[in-house]
């Protein structure tokens, strides 16, 4: 433990306090940051988690307070406007030690006091591919803010090294060695350790106003690879499944989806319209049948992810879901836009009809193993619902978001009503609470759900 703590939840939730106009709490947090928060602590932290939660939280707070003055919980506490960015710079300088490797790929951890990088204790010291490639938005924004290009250079070098490994069809193995920059093994998945590599490809392209086409090119390659190798259909209802290839692209398909994969429907929609509402995007010169197909894919995957919630008695998804699939697997590319399988039209049981089967839609398609039945309050599905609603305008997504929020409220609230907890089993009602709350719970859900997606005028 650190002597003074690092304030994970406080820093992660500053922008939430701003969006929710919690002025008193925000002033309290700012005072703590100013007076007590020190990153000069002899403490090893995850390079990735510290970048996205702490550095990201500070930078977001800086952005919202300086670019929208007086809009989000304005405070007059006499503290400098640079409060957040000063802390962010100090933290980033410590984190950069992790990038001092032969290849430039960062090590998994770093000591905040010494700035010395530390290899992972597991996985033969290899870093997670997603972690190494999901620090770019933060470091590049900090570079832009400070005019210091070394943040930029460190971040983009990682992308260069990964691309030089020439991952087949743009699909990356989930581990990478920091010394040589080569991949470890050939486990391919969009779930843990793979996920945000893909997310940050398209978001890097968007962050710099579509002026870096290399990242869109890489995203497009990956999408083609996903369609070729990973997309299959569940049995009997034909939900679209984004599966894994745990022994390389030319070996068996594993019909397993981590909940983490559910960032994909929203991200596909974001990548297809670049954040524009689809009606506007359709008027753009580069819109065509491929974009329509991709929007349909986003819609189908969204349904699959929502189904992970609606098939359980709690209305909450397990950490990992398996699927029954056709034998041999039906693959996305065996079909064309007009004959491709689609999941059930609705996840609701037919109303006013005496239904013989009263089990939730998709019950025979989804498999939740006992070891995977916990729920860590993960946000990927609500994130995707947010994007899908903002981009398609379909109210269905807002309704699904609300339904999900109600399930969290009902089953994860602590007995004293003062907080929320992750739960041990989504298949039992009431579920056992785990006495743990991830800091991201306070970021994603208030951002996207409690406000029923109402804030922020423009995804662009």
């Amino acid at each position: 433990m650190t002597q003074n703590g690092l304030g994970w939840i406080i820093v992660d939730a500053i922008d939430t306090m701003m969006l929710m106009n919690l002025t008193t709490e925000l002033e309290h947090a700012r005072k703590w940051i100013h007076e007590d928060l020190s990153y000069d602590q002899d403490h090893d932290v995850s390079t990735f988690e510290t970048t996205i939660r702490m550095l990201g939280g500070l930078l977001s707070a800086h952005y919202l307070s300086t670019s929208f003055p007086g809009v989000y919980a304005p405070v007059k506490d006499g503290l400098s406007d640079d409060l957040y960015v000063e802390k962010a710079t100090d933290l980033a300088d410590r984190l950069l030690g992790a990038f001092e490797t032969q290849s430039g790929v960062p090590l998994a951890s770093v000591n905040l006091h010494s700035g010395k990088g530390i290899p992972s204790h597991a996985d033969s010291g290899a870093s997670s591919t997603a972690e190494a490639t999901s620090v770019q938005l933060e470091l590049k924004y900090l570079a832009k803010l400070t005019g210091e290009d070394h943040y930029w250079d460190k971040a983009e070098r990682v992308m260069k090294i990964v691309d030089e490994q020439h991952p087949e069809d743009g699909l990356v193995p989930i581990f990478i060695y920091a010394d040589q920059g080569n991949f470890r093994g050939n486990n391919i998945r969009l779930g843990s350790r793979g996920d945000s590599y893909y997310e940050y490809l398209i978001k890097q392209y968007l962050q710099t106003s579509q002026q870096e086409p290399v990242y869109q090119e890489m995203w497009n390659e990956s999408m083609a690879g996903i369609k070729k190798h990973l997309l299959t259909y569940s049995y009997p209802s034909n939900f679209t499944v984004l599966a894994e290839r745990q022994n390389g692209l030319h070996n068996n398909l594993e019909p397993k989806m981590d909940h983490l994969v559910c960032f994909m429907p929203g991200t596909i929609a974001l990548a297809t319209t670049n954040g524009l509402p689809v009606e506007q995007a359709r008027k753009q010169p580069n819109w065509g049948p491929e974009q329509e197909e991709d929007m349909l894919l986003a819609e189908e995957l969204m349904k699959t992810c929502m189904g992970m919630y609606t098939v359980t008695p709690t209305g909450l998804a397990g950490e990992i879901t398996y699927f029954n699939i056709h034998d041999p697997p039906l693959m996305y590319e065996e079909f064309t836009a007009d004959n491709r399988p689609r999941g059930p039209k609705s996840l609701d049981l037919p109303a006013n009809l005496p239904s013989i089967d009263t089990r939730p839609v998709g019950t025979d398609d989804y498999i939740i193993k006992a070891s995977d039945s916990h729920n860590l309050q993960r946000p990927e599905t609500v994130e995707s619902l947010f994007y899908m609603w903002r981009i398609t305008g379909d109210e269905k997504y807002r309704e699904w978001g609300w339904k999900m929020f109600e399930a969290f409220g009902k089953h994860t609230m602590t007995p004293d009503g003062e907080g929320y907890s992750s739960i041990g089993n989504v298949m039992t009602v009431p579920p056992p609470l785990r006495d743990n709350m991830e800091s991201f719970w306070l970021v994603w859900f208030p951002h996207f759900d409690a406000t029923t997606f109402a804030w922020f005028a423009d995804l662009r």
Binding site: I52, E138, E156, D163, N182, T208, V214, V443
Partner: protein
């Protein structure tokens, strides 16, 4: 606006004068290109050696018994087959996608070396055919 993977909001911005994409994608075939080069040189070496063997065989054949001539032709064929096989091995080893380009190149080169040694040995066998004047 763009959200990081923790839902923190950042602006979209222009690269401006200070920033640029500081790298370019290398063609997907750096490893493959090196492998092809090894393969090509192996094939070339093989062809050259095969020609040498053939020439030697022809020389041997001149003024020699028909049996010896046939034997020389057979040896030549065998040598060519060995060359082909060795080249294929070199190519497959070299093109197999994997980490460690240097190792791959070394393997392919070793295979090519082995092939040339084989050819030299075949030449020697031709030279050592009994009763032949060279």
């Amino acid at each position: 606006m763009v959200f990081n993977t923790e839902a923190h909001a950042f602006p979209r911005f222009q690269l401006g004068k200070l920033f640029t994409t500081g790298w370019e994608r290398k063609k997907a075939g750096v490893v493959e290109a090196a492998a092809t080069a090894v393969k090509d040189s192996a094939v070339d070496a093989g062809k050259e050696a095969a020609t040498a063997v053939k020439d030697a065989a022809v020389d041997v054949g001149k003024g020699a018994a028909t049996a010896v001539k046939d034997a020389a032709v057979d040896v030549g064929k065998e040598a060519t087959a060995v060359v082909g096989e060795a080249a294929a091995t070199a190519a497959s080893v070299a093109t197999a996608a994997a980490a460690g380009l240097g190792k791959k190149v070394a393997t392919a080169a070793a295979a090519a070396d082995g092939m040339v040694t084989e050819i030299v040995r075949n030449e020697e066998r031709v030279n050592l055919l009994p009763g032949v004047e060279i």
